[in-house]
Amino acid sequence: MLDSTPAALHTGATPLLQTIGLTKRYGDFLANENLDIEIWPQQIHALLGENGAGKSTLVKTVYGLIQPSDGEMRWLGEKMVLSGPSEARARGIGMVFQHFSLFDNLTVAENVALGLAGKESFKDMSARLEQVSNVYGLPLDPRREVWQLSVGERQRIEIVRALMQNPKFLILDEPTAVLTPQEADQLFVVLERLKAEGRAILYISHKLEEVKRLCDTATILRGGKKVSTCNPRAETAASLARMMVGADIKQVKAPASRQTTVPRLVVNDLGLEPDDPHGVRLEHISFELKGGEILGIAGVAGNGQDELFAALSGERLAKDPGTVVIEGIAAGHLSITKRRKLGAAFVPEERLGHGTAPRMKLSENALLTGHAASGMVQHGFVNTAATLKTVDRATEAFDVRKAKRDPEAASLSGGNLQKFIVGREILRNPAVLVVSQPTWGVDAGAAAVIRQALLDLAAAGAAVLVTSQDLDELAEIADRIAVMFHGHLSEPLKTADASREKLGLLMGGSSLEPTEAAHAVGA
C-alpha cells in the first residue's frame, strides 16, 4: 500500500484540495469567513494564526468533523461533501490531533487497530505497523501499553496510525507543542520525507521560526479571515507575526537592574505520590528561589508540572512541613488559604474551572482567591464593594477588555481573562508568585502584558516561579531555567547558559555532561 507510486499523486494544474468561500458560522459568530485556500501535493503548507483565529475550525471542516455553513471544498478539482471523518480518510485525508485519542491501558497495536477500518487481521496489521514505523524512522513497539510511553512516542502512534492509511494529505495540529527540540528535529525529517513522496501536509503552528524552516507556503488567518498566503521563507518572523496579530507586538523590557534578596520560596527534597495510577510521582525536588528572581521550569507536558503546582499551592499536602518553605515558614502541611496568608499567590494553567469559576462574575472570582488575606470578608459577610474594587483595579492596571463592569468569567476572551487572573494575584502584592503556563492560548498582546507584569513583580522584590512549555518565553523572562522530567527537577541553569540543545537534552531525560552540570551549579 505504502509503495503506491507517489508520482501518481501529481495531477498537474489542479490543486489537491481547494476551498472556495468556505464559511463556518456559530450563531452570530463567524469562525471561518470566506476562506479560499489551495493545497498542492509535495508541499508543506503552514496554517498560521493566533488562538481563536479559526485554524481548528478550518481543519475540522476539511477533515469532515464539522459541516461548513457556506462555500465548498474541491478534492482534485471535484466538489467534495464530507459527512464525517471516515469519508475524509477514505479519500486520503489523515489528521494528527494535538490532543491524542489513545487508550492508556491498551497496547500500541490495539490502539492503532481501533482507529483503522478494513478487514485486515490483527497480526497482519501489527506487522504492517512495525514496517511503517521502521520505514519512516518512527520506532514503536506494538506490544507496549500506551501509559508507559512518553508524549513523543504517543504522538508517533498517532502519526503512524495516520500513515497506515497511506494519506495523500496529512494534517498536523501543533505537533511540536509537546516535543523537545531534538524530537521536533526528528519529526521534521519525517515530514520532509513525506513531502518528497508527493504528499501534501498542512502544518498548524504558531512557532514562526519552525514554519520558516519547514514550510513551502503559509496561509495566515486572523479573526476567521485569510490575511495572506505567502512564502514564509521570504518573510521575516516579525512580518509573519505582524500579519498574525495585525499590529506590532510590544517588546517586553527587562528592568535594568534586579537585586536578588533573601530566599522566599524553598523546596527541600519534595516527594509526592501520584493521585491516579498512571500519574507522575514527584521525587527529590529541591530548589531555592530568592526575592527579585524568576525561575523558569521547562519540560514536556505531563512530566509532573501539574503535581508540582498542586504541591506548592497546597491543593495537595506534603507529609513533611519542611518540604515547602514560604517566607521562611515551613508550609508543606498548610492549606492553600494559609499559604496565601504567608504571602504566596498562585496562577494555575487552566483558566476556566481552575483559576476561575466560569459561570460566576469577576467580582466573585476576585473573592475566590482574595477572601483570606484582604478586607473582602468581614465577620463572615462578603464586602461586595471591596470585591468590585479589585475587579476595577485589575481592569485598569492590566487593560482587561470586557463588555460590562462585572461580567461572568466565561464571557471574557482567553487573553483578557488571563490578564484578570494574573492581575488579581499581583494586586495582592505577593511575596511569592507561582504561575503555570502564563500565556498559554493567549493572544500576543496580552502575552506581552503578562510577561511584563511578571518581570515588574520580580523587580519589585517578589520571587516568581514560572512553569512553561514555551522555551522562548522562559528565555525572555527567566533568570534561571530548570527542567522537569519524569517527576525530577534538574539543577537550574542560568538562562544565558541554557541553550535550546541543553534544555532539549534535559527535557528528553538525558543528563548534561558532568563538567557542564558543575559549571551550571557553580555559576
Partner: protein
C-alpha cells in the same frame, strides 16, 4: 429545515426567570390532555385545581399550612443541590425530626411541664434531622458511597421506625388500638396565628428560614463557598474551600430544617404522632427547590404553588372525582419540564432553513 439547539454566548438571565413559567405552562397543557383522556372537561378540571382553592379563606390558610414544610425543607435542599450534594432523603429527616420532638411531648404528657416544652421539641427535631442527614453525608465523605442511594434508603428506615413507635411503646392507651400517640398537651403544640383557623407559627418560621437562606447565599462567604463548590469544584479547591466539609454542612442544615419541619407538622396541624404525617413533603420539596431555581425567594413562591396542587387535588377529587394520584402525576410532569426548560438558559432553539444543497 432543521431545528438546532445552539449554545448561547452567555447565560440568559431572562430565560432563567421565565423558564419555570414555561415549564408550568407546558405542564398545564399536558395535564389538559390527560384530563381529556380521563373524560373530564380540562377547563373545569384545571379551574378546580388552581382557581377554586384561591377563592375561600379556609383553602388559602391551608395552602400556607402545606407550603410551610415544603418551603422549609426546600431551602435546605437547595443548599445541598447548589453544593452538588444530592440529598434525596429529606422525607426521612422530616420523619425522624417528628419522632425526636414527639419523644419530649410524649414524655411530658400530663406532667404540667412549662412552656419550654415546644422550643425544646423544635430543637430536638432539628438536631435529630441533622444527625440523620449526616449518616449519608459521612458515608459519602469517608467511603465515597452515593449519597443519593443512602439518603433515599434511610427514608424507609425512618418510616418504619416511626411506625414501630406508634404501634408499640408510644401508642395511646386510650386510643382504641389506633397506631397513634395521645394528643399533645397545649404546651407541646404550635400556636395558631388566627383564632379558629389553621394557620400556625410554623408559617412565620418558614419565612424566617427563607430570609436566612437568602442572606446566607447572597451575603456570606459560606454561601459563596457552597455555590462555588457546586459550580466549579476544582476552582473551589483552588480557592481553599473544603468540599467534604461543605457536604457535611449542607446535609446538616438541610436535615435540621427538614427535622424541624417534621416536628412543626406533628405539633401543629396534626397534633399527635401517627403514620402518614407527610403526604411526601420531603420528595415534593425537591420539585419546589428546582422550580424555585434553588433561590430562596423562588422557593417561597414555588412552595406556595406546589401547596396549591395538594389542595387543588383534594378539591378536584371531591368536585370532579379525579383520582388524588393525579396530583403526583402533575408534580412529576412539572419537575420533568422544569429540568428540561433549564437547558434553555444556556442554549437556544434555532430554525435553520436549507442553506446548502447536498450533492
Amino acid at each position: 429545515m432543521q431545528l438546532v439547539l445552539e449554545k448561547r454566548a452567555e447565560r440568559s438571565n431572562t430565560i432563567a426567570l421565565v423558564s419555570p413559567l414555561i415549564a408550568i405552562g407546558l405542564t398545564l397543557v399536558t395535564m389538559s390532555i390527560l384530563f381529556a383522556i380521563l373524560g373530564k372537561n380540562p377547563v373545569s378540571a384545571l379551574a378546580a385545581y388552581f382557581i377554586a382553592p384561591l377563592t375561600d379563606s379556609y383553602s388559602l390558610q391551608e395552602i400556607a399550612v402545606k407550603a410551610t414544610p415544603l418551603v422549609m425543607i426546600a431551602i435546605g435542599l437547595s443548599l445541598c443541590y447548589l453544593a452538588n450534594a444530592w440529598n434525596i432523603g429529606a422525607e426521612g429527616q422530616f420523619l425522624i425530626g417528628a419522632v425526636a420532638g414527639s419523644w419530649l411531648a410524649v414524655k411530658t404528657q400530663g406532667t404540667g411541664a412549662g412552656p419550654w416544652v415546644l422550643p425544646v421539641m423544635l430543637l430536638l427535631g432539628a438536631a435529630a434531622g441533622a444527625l440523620y442527614a449526616l449518616i449519608p453525608a459521612l458515608c459519602k465523605v469517608k467511603f465515597g458511597a452515593s449519597e443519593i442511594l443512602t439518603s433515599l434508603m434511610l427514608v424507609y428506615v425512618a418510616d418504619l421506625f416511626l411506625d414501630y413507635l406508634v404501634r408499640g411503646p408510644w401508642r395511646d392507651p386510650a386510643g382504641f388500638n389506633f397506631p397513634t400517640t395521645a394528643e399533645f398537651d397545649p404546651v407541646a403544640t404550635v400556636p395558631i396565628l388566627i383564632e379558629g383557623g389553621r394557620l400556625h407559627l410554623g408559617a412565620i418560621i418558614a419565612l424566617v428560614v427563607v430570609a436566612a437562606g437568602a442572606v446566607l447565599l447572597g451575603k456570606t462567604i459560606k454561601g459563596f463557598e457552597i455555590r462555588v463548590v457546586g459550580a466549579a469544584p476544582r476552582a473551589a479547591r483552588f480557592g481553599g474551600f473544603n468540599s467534604n466539609q461543605l457536604v457535611l454542612l449542607t446535609f446538616a442544615i438541610s436535615g435540621a430544617l427538614a427535622g424541624m419541619a417534621g416536628i412543626i407538622e406533628v405539633a401543629g396541624p396534626v397534633g399527635h404522632l401517627q403514620p402518614g404525617i407527610s403526604p411526601g413533603y420531603g420528595f415534593t420539596a425537591i420539585i419546589v427547590a428546582f422550580l424555585g431555581r434553588l433561590n430562596p425567594v423562588g422557593i417561597l413562591i414555588a412552595g406556595l404553588f406546589l401547596a396549591l396542587t395538594f389542595i387543588g387535588g383534594e378539591q378536584a377529587q371531591i368536585a370532579m372525582k379525579i383520582p388524588l394520584d393525579v396530583t403526583k402525576v402533575f408534580q412529576g410532569i412539572l419537575l420533568f419540564y422544569v429540568l428540561a426548560c433549564d437547558s434553555l438558559i444556556l442554549y437556544r432553539f434555532r430554525l435553520i432553513f436549507a442553506s446548502r444543497q447536498v450533492a
